[in-house]
């Protein structure tokens, strides 16, 4: 639940999602759910020429299970806060 809560705080920010098939998509985080499925708006594909089928896509839903990395905007991680939340979760909330 911790990372779900964390990603919810990033809604509206610009992130880059790298998938297990190496496709990398930058876009505004629209929503996230408990499976860490991600919805992005105003997307652009990092290597557009390699993925011509994405040219006509402006918004997308990415299944959580195919995500490899999420690149976050700088300064979006408050380590202290995450530390505390992690400890609290480890204690069982």
């Amino acid at each position: 639940m911790l990372f779900y809560s964390y990603f919810k705080t990033l809604v509206g920010k610009e992130v880059t999602v790298e998938l297990k098939n190496n496709l990398a998509i930058t876009g505004t985080l629209h929503s996230v759910d408990q499976y860490l499925n991600i919805k992005l708006n105003n997307i652009r594909v990092v290597d557009e020429r390699k993925y011509p089928h994405m040219l006509s896509v402006r918004a997308c839903f990415v299944r959580g299970s195919v995500v490899r990395y999420v690149q976050l905007p700088p300064g979006s991680v408050d380590v202290e806060l995450l530390h505390d939340a992690t400890r609290r979760e480890a204690r069982g909330g």
Binding site: L19, N37, R58, S65
Partner: protein, 134 residues
């Protein structure tokens, strides 16, 4: 930084996972599958695993600057094979800069591309074998 993360989540406040697709119902979507195929269809139903029902679906094959669409009809896609669902922008559809060709033509182009890739692979492995030998 939002303080939400420090609050213990209230179970009633959390929407069930996979619900985000409600907004896409009855829209024309591009579904990318794990094997690299792209299917275009209207989303009729889904569940929490992203199992999908697509009506009037077609597979879109793109090779270099050419593309073709193969009609598939009604399809159920098992969620584990779904990589991405893209909302198609009507203004950029069909994709700009691509030329529509027949199914036979695209299949041939696909075969040619696969052969070229294979050849590249063999040349590369021979080159590395050669490096190993010296």
């Amino acid at each position: 930084m939002d303080e939400n993360i420090t609050l213990p989540p209230n179970i009633e406040d959390i929407p069930p996972p996979g619900l985000a697709l409600v907004e896409e119902l009855d829209k024309l979507l591009l579904v990318q599958l794990r094997d690299g195929r792209k299917i275009i269809g209207t989303l009729r139903s889904f569940d929490q695993f992203a199992n999908l029902v697509l009506s009037d679906s077609k597979e879109r094959i793109i090779v270099a600057e050419q593309y073709a669409e193969i009609p598939l009809g009604l399809h159920v896609v098992r969620g584990e094979n779904v990589v991405l669902l893209g909302e198609l922008d009507a203004a950029r559809e069909p994709p700009p800069g691509l030329q529509l060709v027949s199914e036979a033509a695209i299949k041939q182009a696909q075969r040619a591309e696969r052969e070229a890739d294979k050849l590249k692979g063999t040349l590369r492995s021979r080159f590395f074998d050669f490096l190993d030998d010296i």
